[in-house]
């Protein structure tokens, strides 16, 4: 029996709330831990039957994992799910693209608030995830580590004194930890500073990726900053180093916005106003344009330019305009052109002054 994605729609996802820094440049923080049982082969080598067997072991032990909500945990039998429903999991950051593209012999456990989850048989047998709104890596780490301890009691991990936790790929070996923060950086993009900032940070073994689109064609001005190295430093050292870089990005973005408002106020307000106008009045809205405009509106909300529009609504819109969510909302499959119409209708409705 698999849980249904509709159960996720009952309450808004925990990461869509307001951040903790007050300026909303940091949208969300995530910790991912890769673990493997000592007695099994890695998922890439394991047979489909072997992978299913492990899924059953995890599902049977699930009620013991208090951090995942114990018996409240939603257990998704990803293999049995419709493709569209799997896409919903991806859009809600609960599963990776890799995971939903190869669903044979996989399982996903999600705590009802969606802040903590466990992918079974992605690249590694166990991938723990803890999410938080805003810039809260320490809190996310504490929770991921607590779930890690619970799982460690249920399964004996593949662990080496020198190399640490053994993972399918040596890029994850050691702590098995990927820490990341999603940042909204329209100021750095508008002023053309982003490329040099990214290049500087790359030298510190920290990766910066555009969230939507590739490289410089980044849509929505969203960037994910994460550690590349997983061995040779403790989790705390990695998180502190990453945190220092994130703080610098946030500071530079804030300063840039200030300077822009002082020197070129009209251009800045024009970007925000046009973004709002498009979302409020258009009847066909592509994913690209919607992301671009939501970024502009988000900037306006950050700068307190809207009276009643809040960041939580903008966050909900970011999620709701994604293709699978639009189709679930419409209750049927939509082709690209239909989606653009539905997306525009949804945005108009959300920004209607009576609704806001």
């Amino acid at each position: 029996m698999t849980a249904r994605v509709e159960e996720l729609f009952r309450n808004p996802s925990g990461i869509l709330g307001e951040g903790n820094t007050g300026d909303d440049i940091a949208i969300s923080s995530r910790i991912r831990l890769a673990r493997n049982p000592a007695q099994r082969m890695f998922p890439v080598r394991e047979s489909e039957a072997g992978r299913r067997e492990f899924c059953e072991e995890v599902a049977a032990a699930a009620p013991e994992f208090g951090v995942l909500g114990g018996s409240e945990a939603l257990v998704f039998d990803t293999e049995q799910m419709e493709k569209l429903d799997r896409e919903v999991l991806l859009e809600r950051y609960l599963a990776s693209r890799e995971f939903i593209s190869h669903p044979q012999g996989t399982l996903l456990l999600v705590r009802p608030d969606e802040l903590c989850s466990l992918m079974v048989n992605e690249g590694d047998a166990l991938r723990i995830q803890s999410l938080r709104p805003g810039f809260q890596l320490d809190e996310a780490w504490k929770e991921a580590s607590a779930l890690d301890d619970e799982l460690g009691h249920a399964f004996e991990y593949a662990f080496d004194e020198k190399l640490g936790f053994l993972t399918a790929s040596p890029t994850d070996v050691g702590t098995g930890m990927r820490a990341s923060v999603m940042l909204h950086l329209p100021g750095l993009v508008l002023t053309g500073q982003i490329a040099s900032a990214v290049a500087a940070v790359n030298k510190l073994n920290i990766a910066v990726r555009g969230l939507f689109g590739e490289g410089s064609d980044n849509l929505g001005n969203m960037y994910q900053v994460s550690n590349q190295s997983t061995l040779g430093e403790s989790e705390k050292q990695i998180i502190d180093r990453l945190g220092a870089v994130v703080s610098q990005f946030m500071e530079r973005e804030l300063n840039t916005r200030k300077v822009l408002m002082e020197r070129d106020q009209h251009s800045m307000l024009d970007v925000i106003g046009r973004s709002y106008g498009v979302l409020r009045h258009s009847h066909r809205l592509s994913s690209e344009e919607a992301l671009k405009c939501l970024s502009g509106v988000r900037l306006g909300v950050d700068m307190r330019l809207f009276k009643s529009l809040d960041i939580a609504r903008v966050n909900r819109m970011f999620l709701a305009i994604a293709p699978a969510h639009l189709q679930k909302r419409a209750g049927r499959e939509l082709d690209s052109a239909d989606r653009d119409v539905c997306r525009a209708a949804f945005c108009r409705e959300q920004l209607n002054p009576d609704a806001v």
Binding site: D160, E161, P170, T175, M177, K203, N205, G232, E233
Partner: protein, 190 residues
Amino acid sequence: MLCDNCKRNEATIIIKEIHNGKAESINLCAECARLKEQQGELGSFGFNLAEVLFDLGKLTKALKPDAKTPEVEVPHEVAQAVCPHCGWSAEDLRKHEGQLGCPECYRTFAPLVEGAVARIQRGLVHLGKRPAGGGPDGAVAMRLELERLQRELNDLIKREEYEAAAVDRDRIAALKRELEAAEAAEKERK
């Protein structure tokens, strides 16, 4: 065009970087490019792990355009190795972007893994948490790493590479603090 670094050989590799929004390019000969790559001065280009494992980076290919069988880079016994536990071969490793078959593969393909780890990770020893109930987090490894860093620091000072030495000095200080904290926490538990 001569190499910007040694100003002796013909430059065959051009590297473009963006600094403060301005594109800059440097022209290097094969020799200098290889040296710079070894010293990690070429920044972090996206890499394919399999290529790193087999030391077949894009650069290596550019440096040896006539090498027909890149496998020559891999020691024969490793190229032929098959994991006794799961049957994974070096060829499987290559096909699956550097993924290993099972925990035992770390031993089977140790020379490849060590080379890759040295290139992509910041250190060689795990300093983080241990499995639940597995003793204090990384105290043993921390001492090993401290010794290694201290040796490296002495070397760097001898070679008068003070910038790199300063990085090591800071890491040693941070590690010492962490080791003390771990030992204090362990005492408290007892």
